[in-house]
C-alpha cells in the first residue's frame, strides 16, 4: 500500500487539476505533457508554464510523437532545470530516460515524474489519417476492461512493462472501471509526498490492482509470443535477414528517434562507414554484385549490438519506418534475449549499471573457448 491522492473527478480532469494546482502554487515552474496543438487534434509534447495553456493538455492521449525520455534528456543533460518541472510520461519513455541517465545524458534533479499504467499508443500514422479520435472511446473502453486495445502499435500489443518504474507519482488506468468518476494518484516516494503535502483532496492508502494487472500481463505475453513467432519464422538465417531488411531505404529514421541512440555523430553516419569508390571496387571483385547503398544488414546488426542491451521496446523505430520493417519487434525480441543473459531490465533500477559497463570476475565461462 502506498499513500495516494484521491480526487472526485474523472482521471483526465483530475490530473489536469493536479497539474494546475502545482503550477498556480508555483511549486513547479513548468509541465511537460502532450498537448493538442490545433483543432485537428494533432498533439505534440510541450513544456507549459502558463496555466491557460493547460486547457488543451492531454496527458494520457494514446500517441507518442517522440520518446519523451529523449526530450527529458535534452533538457537535463547539463544538470536539472533551475526550477522544478513536472513531466507526464509513459512507462517506456521513463525507462528510456533512465537508460540515458545511466549514460550521463540527463538527471532527475528538479524533475518530478508522473507516469501511469499504460494501455499502449496508436501508430503515428493514425494521427496523420485523423482516425485517432474515432478510436478513442473504444481505446478507453478496453483500458477500463484491462484488454488489449485494437489498432495499437505492435510493440505496445506485446509490451509487458506497462507499470512504471522510478516515477514519483503513478496513475492507475488499466482495469479501473471508475476512470470517469474518480482519479487516484499514487504517491511513490518522499519527494512526491513533499510536493503534495499542502494539496486539497482526500489522502488514503491505495495500491495497484496486482491481480488485474497480472491477468493483463498474461494477455500481453500471449500476444508477444505470437509476434515473436512471426519474426522467428521470417528470420532463420542470413537470407531471412536480407529478406526482412532488404527493403530498408537507409533513411536512419529508426536511429534518430531511438531514445537509446544518443551519439551526436552516429558511427553509421560518420565518414568511417562511408563507402568509398575503392570499397565498391574491392567488394565487386569478391562478390557477384553489390546492393547500393550498401551496408543495410550491417547497419541494423550494428545498431542491435550497440543498443540491444538497453532497448526499452518503445516501438518508435517501427512507427517512423517508411517501408514498414517490423523493426521494433525484432529489436524487442533480440534485446530481451540479450538482457536475459545479464538478468537486466532496462530502465528498471537506476542504481544498476548497464551490463556492458560492468563485469563479474567469474562469469559467462560458456562463452569462452
Amino acid at each position: 500500500m502506498t499513500k495516494a491522492l484521491i480526487l472526485n473527478e474523472s482521471t483526465e480532469q483530475g490530473i489536469l487539476d493536479f497539474l494546475k494546482n502545482l503550477l498556480e502554487t508555483r511549486q513547479v515552474r513548468g509541465i511537460l505533457t502532450l498537448k493538442k496543438i490545433n483543432k485537428n487534434n494533432d498533439v505534440a509534447y510541450s513544456i507549459i508554464t502558463d496555466v491557460k495553456e493547460l486547457n488543451d493538455a492531454v496527458p494520457f492521449y494514446p500517441l507518442m510523437p517522440v520518446n519523451a525520455g529523449k526530450l527529458l534528456s535534452r533538457f537535463t543533460f547539463r544538470g536539472g532545470p533551475s526550477d522544478p518541472i513536472i513531466a507526464v510520461v509513459k512507462p517506456c519513455e521513463l525507462r528510456g530516460f533512465v537508460e540515458l541517465i545511466k549514460r550521463e545524458q540527463g538527471c532527475f534533479d528538479n524533475l518530478f515524474i508522473i507516469s501511469f499504467t499504460c494501455g499502449g499508443v496508436f501508430p503515428q500514422q493514425m494521427s496523420v489519417e485523423k482516425t485517432v479520435e474515432k478510436n478513442l472511446n473504444k481505446y478507453w473502453d478496453s483500458v477500463k476492461k484491462a484488454e488489449i486495445s485494437d489498432n495499437i502499435r505492435p510493440a505496445c500489443k506485446g509490451c509487458e512493462e506497462f507499470i512504471p518504474y522510478n516515477s514519483d507519482f503513478t496513475v492507475d488506468l488499466i482495469g479501473r472501471n471508475d476512470l470517469d468518476k474518480q482519479s487516484i494518484i499514487l504517491i511513490n516516494n518522499e519527494k512526491g509526498a513533499e510536493l503534495t503535502k499542502n494539496m486539497k483532496g482526500k489522502f488514503s492508502e491505495e495500491s495497484l490492482n496486482k491481480e488485474k494487472l497480472e491477468k493483463f500481463r498474461n494477455k500481453r505475453e500471449i500476444e508477444k509470443k505470437k509476434l515473436f513467432k512471426e519474426i522467428d519464422e521470417k528470420i532463420k538465417d542470413i537470407d531471412g535477414l536480407i529478406d526482412v531488411f532488404g527493403r530498408c531505404i537507409g533513411c536512419h529514421g529508426c536511429m534518430r528517434v531511438c531514445p537509446i541512440c544518443y551519439c551526436n555523430l552516429c558511427e553509421f553516419e560518420s565518414s568511417d562507414s562511408e563507402y568509398k569508390p575503392s570499397n565498391y571496387e574491392s567488394d565487386l571483385k569478391k562478390r557477384g554484385g553489390i546492393r547500393v547503398p550498401p551496408g543495410t544488414v550491417y547497419y541494423h546488426l550494428g545498431r542491435l549490438s550497440h543498443i540491444g542491451i538497453s532497448c526499452v521496446a518503445c516501438g518508435l523505430c517501427e512507427d517512423v519506418c517508411p517501408v514498414d520493417i517490423p523493426i521494433s519487434i525484432i529489436f524487442k525480441k533480440i534485446g530481451e534475449s540479450v538482457q536475459k543473459v545479464f538478468d537486466y531490465i532496462p530502465g528498471k533500477n537506476i542504481d544498476e549499471d548497464i551490463p556492458l559497463m560492468t563485469f563479474e570476475k567469474e562469469e559467462l565461462l560458456e562463452f569462452e573457448d
Binding site: D237, L241, Y298, I334, V338, L356, F359, K361, D369
Partner: protein, 143 residues
C-alpha cells in the same frame, strides 16, 4: 598462403598486443606449425574490438572471427578483457537469435608464453570452420 587453395578457410583474428599477439609471435619463433588460415590483426586490447568489427568481418565474408586476449585477471589494462567477455556473450546471443552461425565466432585467452596454446586454438578453430564450410554471407549481394 596458396591463393588457389579454396579449402582453407579465412579466419580474422583480433589479437591483443600484450598477450595473444606475443603468444602468436612465440608460436612463430618456436616454429610450431599451425594452419595458414589465420589473418592476425593487432589491437591494443581485446576490449578495443567493437562488436561492429566482428559483424563487419562476418558480413564481409570471413569464415571465422577469433578474438584473443590476456587471461582474465591478467589484462594489461586490468579489466579490459572482462568487458570483452560480456560484449562477446552479447554478440553471440544476437547471432544465435537471428539464426546466424555463432560457431564462427570464438573468444579465447592466450598469454604471451602460450605459443603452443595459440597454435592449438588456431588448429582446432580451423578444423571446426572447415566442417561448417564457407561463410554463406560471402557471396550475398544484398547485404
Amino acid at each position: 598462403m596458396n591463393k588457389e587453395d579454396d579449402s582453407m578457410p579465412k579466419i580474422l583474428a583480433f589479437l591483443c598486443n600484450w598477450c595473444s599477439y606475443a603468444g602468436a609471435d612465440l608460436a612463430g619463433t618456436s616454429r610450431i606449425k599451425y594452419p595458414p588460415s589465420i589473418m592476425p590483426l593487432r589491437v591494443m586490447c581485446s576490449s578495443r574490438v567493437d562488436p561492429l568489427f566482428i559483424i563487419k568481418a562476418y558480413l564481409g565474408g570471413a569464415d571465422g572471427v577469433l578474438v584473443a586476449g590476456c587471461h582474465p585477471g591478467d589484462c594489461h589494462y586490468e579489466k579490459g578483457n572482462y568487458y570483452t567477455r560480456r560484449r562477446f556473450a552479447m554478440l553471440k546471443k544476437i547471432f544465435d537469435e537471428l539464426g546466424l552461425e555463432s560457431d564462427r565466432l570464438l573468444l579465447s585467452w592466450v598469454s604471451a608464453s602460450e605459443g603452443h596454446k595459440y597454435a592449438n586454438v588456431a588448429r582446432d578453430f580451423t578444423e571446426k570452420i572447415k566442417k561448417s564450410g564457407k561463410n554463406p554471407a560471402k557471396k550475398k549481394i544484398f547485404l
